[in-house]
């Protein structure tokens, strides 16, 4: 039987918790900016904006198609090379070493997430009945106003569970940022684990911390969804109210 050293695990929890702010920072930044960018992409695609539509199809394909790790590397190793080149040709003196790895992580994660968000938003915009847009137009709203006031709020409800997926996936994906020296929860767990080969313990600790963060997120998402769905009374008899028991109260 494996001897899980609980004492060690518990004793090291505070040390691993120190990574939580970084994890959250990356996830929240990527989520927010990714959503904005993703929404723009989705709209360009739905409205088939001439050149942009094509461009974004390729963008989405490329970003989703290549490993996030590679994207991180591209920024991490690419930007300094680019800066060097720039310094040479323009005589500037930017030092790539002064750029915080966290910034690379922010950019890479935001770009990565935006591709996924674009598809989520496209799916949920498609789920809104076209009559809603027509009605908004008929009362004299511009398309932008109609989107903002009528269509997006309805699309957002459809998107919520999927956004939840992305957010939670993102929380865990931040561990990849370790590849560019950003030390968050998982990285701390690994560092601590190494001396005594306590990988089992530390992975469990990391898993628990992730779970805790994600559980809070689930509660939040369920709450928002519940609120919005109640408002629309869409599934009156389908018993869709979810948060009667919040997740995990088993």
């Amino acid at each position: 039987m494996p001897i899980i050293n609980f004492e060690f695990a518990i004793q090291e929890i505070p040390a691993v918790l120190k990574g939580v702010p970084i994890t959250l920072a990356i996830a929240v930044v990527a989520m927010v900016f990714g959503l904005i960018f993703g929404l723009l992409i989705a709209l360009c695609r739905i409205y088939r904006v001439p050149i942009l539509n094509r461009l974004f199809i390729i963008y989405i394909s490329f970003i989703r198609g290549t490993p996030l790790l590679v994207q991180l590397y591209v920024f991490f190793y690419g930007v300094p090379v680019l800066l060097d080149k720039m310094n040479q040709s323009f005589g500037t003196a930017y030092n790539a070493d002064h750029i915080s790895p966290l910034l690379y992580a922010f950019i890479a994660f935001t770009i990565n997430v935006s591709a996924y968000q674009a598809e989520i938003m496209r799916a949920s915009l498609n789920a809104v009945q076209i009559g809603q847009m027509e009605a908004a137009h008929s009362v004299g709203m511009t398309t932008f106003q109609a989107l903002k006031r009528i269509v997006l709020p309805q699309a957002f409800l459809v998107a919520l569970p999927n956004l939840g997926n992305t957010f939670i996936g993102l929380i865990k994906a931040t561990s990849l940022a370790f590849a560019v020296k950003v030390v968050e929860v998982m990285a701390l767990a690994k560092i601590i684990a190494n001396d005594g080969y306590h990988f089992l313990e530390m992975y469990l600790v990391a898993a628990l911390i992730y779970w805790l963060i994600c559980w809070l997120l689930e509660v939040l998402f369920t709450f928002v969804e519940e609120k919005m769905r109640n408002k629309e009374i869409k599934q009156k008899k389908m018993n869709t109210t979810i948060s009667k028991d919040l997740p995990l109260r088993v």
Partner: protein, 255 residues
């Protein structure tokens, strides 16, 4: 057990390969010093049959811990904390020569103490090298060496950083350095050997019997010259000799 009544032993081998200790040939078959050593052991331990499983190093250790694998081999170092968790044989089967690599004209760096306040190339959070530094830091609370962590560090990339003067030195295994240097031919030197670390296979806590037999066999293999020969074959140096001998007589760190 196999058909001819041998007991099957599952051996986890790490993907964080490090030629020439352990790496893969073109068919992804593991080869290297470690594998030759295990073959010799298997020959002597007639009751056992070894089966090899590739895996990530952390996963391998968890696997040994939980009993999924009987032992794991890679250049595992020994320390008291690890001994609590795993069973280590008494007898090492080889050595890792750890060193600091710098630009050729630097003579301010020879030992770990010299690294205090200087910049070390980023390192993996796991692995034996990291452990040596961690224990140094633990023993010298006032003279900490700053270590940057990074997942999947690239030796080549790190050496390049030292070459370019972005970092002062890299803490690296000598054999690894030589192999990379052969390819890249950077303007670097081994500034100093830090230690000759014995390396072991690590066993599941319940494999006391097997570990004991390993000990005996390994001792025999060293005494009858098999392992020193293998060392010559893979490393072009018999690292069973003492450090001074290696340092001064034989081993050309800076060809």
């Amino acid at each position: 057990t196999t058909e001819d009544g041998k007991k099957i032993i599952t051996v986890a081998i790490s993907d964080e390969v490090n030629p020439p200790f352990l790496y893969a040939d073109d068919d992804n078959k593991p080869i290297g010093y470690d594998m030759d050593y295990l073959k010799e052991v298997e020959k002597k331990l007639e009751d056992y049959h070894f089966e090899y499983v590739w895996g990530e190093e952390e996963a391998n250790l968890v696997g040994v811990d939980t009993g999924k694998y009987d032992f794991a081999i890679n250049w595992f170092f020994k320390n008291p904390e690890r001994e609590e968790k795993f069973l280590y044989p008494e007898q090492e089967f080889g050595y890792s020569l750890t060193s600091l690599v710098t630009q050729p004209d630097r003579d301010d760096i020879k030992t770990l103490e010299d690294m205090v306040g200087k910049k070390l190339a980023p390192m993996s959070p796991s692995g034996g090298l990291r452990t040596i530094l961690n224990s140094y830091n633990k023993n010298n609370p006032d003279e900490q060496i700053e270590i940057e962590s990074i997942e999947f560090p690239s030796n080549a990339d790190n050496l390049q950083r030292v070459n370019d003067g972005k970092d002062d030195a890299m803490f690296i295994n000598v054999t690894t350095f030589n192999a990379v240097q052969e390819e890249l031919d950077l303007n670097l030197k081994v500034a100093g050997i830090v230690s000759k670390e014995p390396v072991y296979a690590v066993f599941n806590k319940e494999q006391t019997e097997l570990a004991k037999e390993f000990d005996e066999v390994t001792k025999e293999l060293i005494e009858d010259g098999t392992l020193p020969d293998l060392a010559e074959k893979w490393f072009k140096i018999n690292f069973f000799e003492n450090l001074d001998y290696i340092n001064e007589e034989n081993y050309k760190f800076n060809p």
